[in-house]
Every structure is written in C-alpha cells, then in structure tokens.
C-alpha cells in the first residue's frame, strides 16, 4: 500500500487550520448585521458550502464527459467522488439555510426556485448513486453513471427556470440585489473579506476531500484486483 502523499498531508493540516481561522473570522472579525443580528453569520458558511456543492457537481459533469471520451477508469472515480462530496455539502447548505430562514422568513422551508432546484438536484444525484448500485459490471456502471450525470446536469438549469417564473424570495447578495427579497443586505468590507475567506477555505477543503476520495477509490480497485487474483 502506497503511503499518503506529502502534499496531501500538508493540505489536510492547512484546511483544518484555515477552517478554524474562517470560523474565528465569522464570529469575531465580521461585524454583526444590523437588522438580522447574529443569525446572519450563517450566510458565510451557507454560501461557501453551496458553492462547493455547485463546484463539485460541475466537476462531476466534466469528469463524466471526460470518461465517455477517453474510457479511462480514473475519471469514473472522479465523478463518483465529486458527486458524493457535492451531495454532503449541498445538504449542509440546505440545513444551514433552513436555520437562517426560520427567524428571517418565519418558516423552515418554502418552495422558492433555488430551494426546490437544490432539492431536485440532491434527488438526481441520489438516483445516480442508486443507478451505480444496481449495476455490477464496472465498465457499464461507469458508462451509465457518466451518461446520467450529463443528463442530470442539463436538467438542473431548466428546473430552475421553470420554477423561477413564480416570484422568488431568496436574497441575492452578490450582484444585482433585488430589494423585494426578504432578508437581503449590503456587505461591509469586513463582511466581504470574511465571505471570500470562507469561499477559499471551503474550496480548499473540497480539493482535499476529493483527493482523499479518489485515493480511496483507487485503493478499493486495487483490493478488488488482489481478491480476483487470489480466487
């Protein structure tokens, strides 16, 4: 068994350290928002985890296309790894959003376009995992998985538009803020710094986890091959 690469170990420690730093910044550096108060602090990690979710689903699409073009098994590992990580981070984003929405929107959940789209996205990737489970042949599993990831990714923006035609209440903090949205606010310089730091930190955590997960997949493949050789 090969040892863990040195860079990966450094990345582990760096992301743990930076996560502590970002948490510290959220609580002690960023000012408390005037209207919403402390609950607004959810925003920094909510946006960062949602960003990681979107990033990983995009990566899985790219890896899926790459798999179909090259037929290289490594890309299949990247698709699977990225989907798993994306699902977890999206779930974290949804839960954090609910915690924020309870005092601000006065409800845990509403059928707003973004919320609905994200939920359907989770269902699509859950279906992806079930599809994988149902197929034994690794080659076919990888091919079908890649095809499904492409189809799922294409349908997500359409879902968003289809629900968007009803009015949205989800605030847009970055770029063109809609004053109609409940719970939107303007960021001060310190808030922006905290926000960008959490984005970078969570992206780093994503890279770190993706690397670990791909390594795990490769090791599992190797175990499988060794088992085959034994029998």
């Amino acid at each position: 068994m090969q040892a863990q690469p040195r860079v990966l170990t450094i990345l582990d420690y760096a992301s743990a350290l930076l996560l502590t730093l970002a948490t510290g910044m959220v609580f002690f550096y960023a000012p408390t928002e005037a209207v919403m108060g402390l609950v607004q602090k959810v925003f920094y990690f909510h946006t960062a985890t949602a960003w990681v979710g979107m990033l990983s689903f995009t990566v899985s699409l790219g890896a899926g296309i790459a798999y179909l073009r090259t037929g290289n098994r490594r890309w299949d590992l990247v698709v699977l790894a990225s989907v798993e990580i994306g699902m977890v981070f999206m779930l974290i984003a949804i839960i954090m959003g609910s915690i924020w929405a309870r005092p601000i929107w006065n409800t845990w959940w509403t059928w707003d376009p973004r919320l609905t789209t994200v939920t359907i996205m989770e269902l699509i990737y859950a279906a992806y995992l079930m599809l994988r489970q149902g197929i034994e042949d690794p080659d076919r599993r990888a091919r079908f998985g890649a095809v499904y990831v492409i189809l799922g990714f294409v349908s997500v923006p359409l879902t968003f538009f289809s629900i968007r035609i009803f009015r949205t209440i989800h605030p847009v903090v970055i770029g063109g803020s809609d004053p109609q949205a409940t719970g939107s606010f303007d960021m001060t310089a310190r808030m922006l710094q905290t926000f960008l730091t959490s984005l970078v930190v969570f992206s780093l955590i994503y890279v770190d986890m993706l690397w670990h997960r791909i390594r795990l997949g490769e090791l599992a493949d190797k175990v499988e091959q060794l088992k085959l050789r034994l029998s």
Partner: protein, 244 residues
Amino acid sequence: MNVRSQVEKIPAHPAASSIPFRHYFQAIGAVVWKDLVAEMRSRELLSGMLVFSLLVILIFNFALELDAATRVSVTAGVLWVTFTFAGTLGLNRSMAVEKDNGCLDGLLLAPVDRSVIYFAKVIANLVFILLVAAIVLPLYSILYNVNLFNLGLIWVIFLGAVGYVSVGTLLASMAVQARTRDILLPILLFPIVIPLLVAAVKASSGFLQGLELAAIQPWLTLLVVYDVIFTAVAFMVFDYVVEE
C-alpha cells in the same frame, strides 16, 4: 463517438457509414413498424397502460374528491400525473421486451447507425403514449363532465410526450440493463422530467382555463426548449448506453 468509428473500420458492414439519408429513415420506419406490429398482436403494453391510467384517475377521484369546484384547478395535474405513471410502465415494458428476448442484441447487430434504434424506439413509445392519451382524454371528459377537446391542450400533450419519451427511452434502456430495473426507471426519470412536467401542467391548465396565449407562451417555449435539448443530448449519448 468511438463506437461509430469502430463500426466504420469493420469491412463487413460497409453500409453503416455510407447509408444515404433515405435509408436512414427507412431503417427507422422498419423498427417502428416492428414495434407496432408486435404490439398489435400482443396488445399487452397498451392494455396495461390503459387500465393503469384509468385506475390512477379513479384513485385521484377518491383521494382528491374531484367535485366540480376542484376539478377546474386540478384536471391538468391529474392528467399529467396519470400520463407520467402510465408512461413509466410502458417505457419499462417496451425496453424489457427487447432485452429479455435478446432482440436488442439483434437490433444492435443490424448494419445501421445506433441512433436509428434510439429514434425508432422513441417514435414507437410516443405512438403508444399518444394512443393512451387519445383514449384517456375523452373518457376523462365524460366521467368528469369537463370539455378537454382543446387544440392547445392537445399540442401541449404532444410536446410534453415528445420530451418525456426522448429522455424516458434513453433511461429505460439503461434501467433494463440494471439489476434493480423495476424500481430504477421512475427514480432516474422523475427528477429529470420535473421541468417538463412543471411546464406541461402550467400550459395545460392555462389552456383549460382559457387564458390568453401570451400568458401560456413562456411554458410552451420551455417545453420546446426541453424537447430540443434532451433529444439532442440523448442522441449523442445513446451509443454509450447500448455499447457492449
């Protein structure tokens, strides 16, 4: 893409790459004809879908208490849920028949482009689902005393059915090759057809409530966009689904 280049390299099937356009459509026609004739003789797919649709409508009758007041607002929803469920049944069956009897391998051996098989199956499934709709609509009209003979509604059903079968045929050919095939198709299909269903239900209820065309236009556009995008994507990836 690599499949097509492999096919071109095989000298035994020179026709594969140099099939003229007309032959392409003839091949599609032949496979569609085969499906229709098989269905004419067995009638198991259509009768299954039909009885199932009627049962779904019956269940809705009790579940929603479809009295005159609620009927106006929920008819579009009930119809589309019925078509969606019955459609899953039909799609699964139409691909399972090919897979179980080894017909799919036979089709794949034919010296034609793989997309011929895809488009032929899409057309056959489309015919089945439209036939079911053609029987369910008048029955629903009689049973619930709503007039469903609306040209707009028929258009929406056609556009919706095209999108539904174009994704459904691709996913069904994936699902039948899996161990868990009976439960897999709806799980794979439903999250992907949600935008289609939202648009179809909204457009249908718009036509049924007699809204002006400008209010329904965005939904119709969305339906067309969905049909075009998903037919194109499915056409591009179908090779990878039937590859052995």
